[in-house]
């Protein structure tokens, strides 16, 4: 009997597809698979690729996301060693490290089921670790006292201890995503903040006034110093000039009477200036000419 090759190829292709659908499964780069046979753990496929299995009913494949998961809790009031009660919320980056154990514990490959258990674990670790530290190790004016990173690391270690051995979960990162105060405390903090600001306002005003006064005083002091210095300099200049004057006047010793005559004339000229009133009689030269034109006769 002659057979159509196309029919043959199609038949073989359909058979191959069927075999692959029933006997093969893919594990993605981001996954790890656990195969169970009649409900019992058989093997884990941690590498990605194509794998074979016995048909459904005999073997069942569970796929687990091996990527880091982000789990975050809502904030919760936590007590520190010194009985302060901040609210804290943390986030956890976790992954499935042991898929066999994970499947045994949760009977599911759903990470959300695991996160329900993880939440209790995280809450316990958060309360335990923060309860071992004072509030000043979370918030302090002295940066050397703050142990933010230490607390995060301790919470991570605390979670890891149980998560890995009990759930097959590895915790790669823990971080505090919120740190605050409970609602009842915020009102008191606001009162304190207002009081602090009022004090700061007064302090700033006083500082401004003091600084300004200091600058004004400095300006006056410098000004007066400059005046005094200038006066001294001026006095010195005048003194030097007067010394020169005295030295020059030695020339007048040649004829002291003439010198006195000149000075007398100058004094007369300077004292009788614009607004002066003169009362003269006929004997005053040159008015004496009015009475006797010869009066000016030089003898």
């Amino acid at each position: 009997m002659k057979r159509n090759p196309i029919t043959m190829i199609t038949g073989v292709a359909l058979l191959v597809i069927f075999i692959f659908l029933v006997f093969a499964f893919q594990v993605r780069f981001t996954q790890v698979a656990v195969v169970t046979r009649f409900g019992r753990y058989s093997r884990s496929e941690t590498n990605s690729g194509l794998f074979f299995r016995l048909p459904p009913g005999v073997e069942k494949v569970y796929y687990f996301d091996k990527r880091l998961q982000n789990f975050e809790r809502k904030f919760e009031q936590t007590f520190t060693r010194d009985k302060r009660s901040p609210i804290v919320a943390i986030y956890v980056a976790w992954r499935i490290a042991d898929p066999k154990m994970f499947l045994e514990r949760f009977n599911s490959d759903d990470v959300l089921v695991a996160e329900q258990s993880l939440e209790g674990l995280v809450r316990g670790a958060q309360n335990a670790v923060i309860g071992r530290h004072d509030f000043s190790e979370l918030v302090s004016p002295d940066p050397t006292q703050v142990k933010f990173d230490v607390i995060e690391r301790e919470i991570q270690e605390e979670i890891t201890k149980t998560a890995l051995s009990n759930y097959g979960i590895a915790v790669d990162l823990v971080g505090i995503k919120q740190l605050g105060l409970p609602e009842t405390l915020t009102a008191k903090v606001f009162d304190r903040m207002r009081a602090e600001r009022e004090r700061t306002v007064k302090k700033l005003i006083a500082e401004g006034n003091a600084e300004a006064t200091k600058i004004y005083s400095q300006a006056r002091l410098e000004s007066e110093t400059m005046f005094a210095s200038a006066q001294r300099e001026a006095l010195k200049i005048r003194g030097e000039a007067e010394a020169k004057e005295l030295k020059s006047y030695e020339v007048f010793n040649q004829e002291p009477e003439l010198a006195q005559f000149f000075m007398g004339l100058r004094a007369l000229e300077l004292s009788l200036t614009n607004r002066s009133t003169l009362i003269l009689d006929e004997s005053t030269a040159p008015l004496n000419l009015l009475k006797d034109p010869k009066a000016l006769k030089i003898q």
């Binding site: 990605s48 302090s140 505090i176 609602e183 903090v189 004004y216 210095s229 004057e245 020059s248």
Partner: protein
């Protein structure tokens, strides 16, 4: 009951069987041929579509990874396909995962930002007497105050494999890294530093922290920019504004004082320069005057020695004429005929008194 064979026999007896079979076979054959042709055409079209779907393009600003049976194809840097045309095997053998790498991506940390009330505009916090942590996020500053902070981070993907395949929800992890950095930086800054004195330092602290966290966790990103907004809670915002006003007032006073300092010292400098200049010019005038007097004296000395009386009279007359010219009022008092000196009574207050200033002011 009718016999079917008979019925058939009847039918055969009434029609001619051979030509009917030929026609049916021919029609069937033609129909099958047409169907096969259609199937062949359909097959060719499907094959063409299959071949066509095996080629894909990687656009700019993205890279692609081919997963064959779930495993990346290639080794090392060959795993990443940059922009260009590529071949892949049909699904479900190969799967193409596209990853955006070039463009900036943005995440916002709102865990420390105030909630927007129904009547609020979102621009500023409502002045509530207390904060509800479920609505109003905040940071505790190192001096125990409460502040609102919002951080916006822009980043680019530098390691597409890690960014896409190592984390189930990378965006949430990055947001939480930013949230963590805001809180971490908040407890290291005082409220006044955070909001007024050193906001740039606060921003830098957040940036450094988030870079450190992302690098440590291997998120495969590079932080491009972190922008930070911070504000005081509504209940105390006025108090903070008053501090800012007082601080500005302080600066203003100091600047005014510094301006006044400049003015006073500049004026003092001018005055001192003038005093010294006047002293110098006075001294110079004095010296020059003396020198002139000396020269004049020496010039006049020979004439004086020649005829002292004449010299005195001539000089006196010159001076008298100058005085008479310059004086305002001159009285000539002729001698009485009996030779008795005239008696003059002087009013020594010739100018009228000035009116009192107070009267003037009125």
């Amino acid at each position: 009951m009718a016999d079917p064979d008979k019925k058939t026999g009847d039918l055969r007896s009434t029609t001619s069987p051979v030509p009917t079979d030929d026609a049916s076979n021919q029609a069937l054959s033609e129909a099958l041929n047409s169907s096969f042709l259609l199937i062949k055409l359909l097959g060719v079209a499907m094959l063409a579509a299959l071949v066509f779907s095996c080629y894909f393009t990687v656009n700019p600003n993205e890279v692609a990874v081919i997963l064959r049976f779930g495993s990346p194809v290639g080794t090392g840097r060959e795993v990443i396909r940059t922009n260009g045309l590529y071949f892949r095997l049909p699904s479900p053998i190969d799967e193409v995962v596209r990853i955006k790498v070039g463009e900036l991506q943005t995440v916002v940390a709102t865990n420390a930002w105030f909630g927007v009330s129904a009547d609020g505009d979102g621009a500023k916090p409502a002045p509530m007497p207390q904060l509800n942590p479920a609505i109003d996020g905040h940071v505790i500053t190192s001096d125990g105050n409460i502040m609102h902070v919002k951080a916006t981070m822009k980043y680019r993907v530098t390691d597409p494999l890690a960014y896409t395949f190592r984390f189930a929800n990378i965006t949430n992890l990055i947001v939480n890294a930013l949230n963590n950095s805001v809180q971490w930086a908040g407890v290291r800054f005082k409220a006044d530093d955070l909001i007024y004195k050193n906001p740039a330092g606060f921003r830098l602290a957040i940036r450094d922290r988030v870079v450190s966290v992302c690098d440590r966790a291997g998120y495969g990103i590079v932080v491009d920019n972190v922008d930070v907004n911070q504000t005081a809670p509504g209940a105390v915002k006025d108090a903070f504004d008053q501090v800012q006003s007082a601080d500005q007032e302080k600066d203003k006073k100091i600047k005014e004082a510094q301006g006044e300092y400049e003015r006073i010292t500049r004026e003092a400098g001018g005055t001192t320069n003038r005093i010294i200049a006047e002293a110098r010019s006075g001294a110079e005038a004095l010296v020059q005057g003396v020198e002139a007097d000396v020269r004049f004296f020496q010039d006049q000395l020979p004439a004086y020695r020649k005829n002292e009386a004449l010299f005195r009279r001539l000089r006196l007359t010159e001076v008298t004429s100058t005085i008479l010219t310059n004086s305002q009022r001159k009285f000539f008092l002729p001698r009485r005929g009996d030779g008795v000196p005239r008696e003059l009574r002087l009013n020594l207050n010739p100018e009228p008194d000035e009116p009192p200033k107070s009267a003037n002011a009125r």
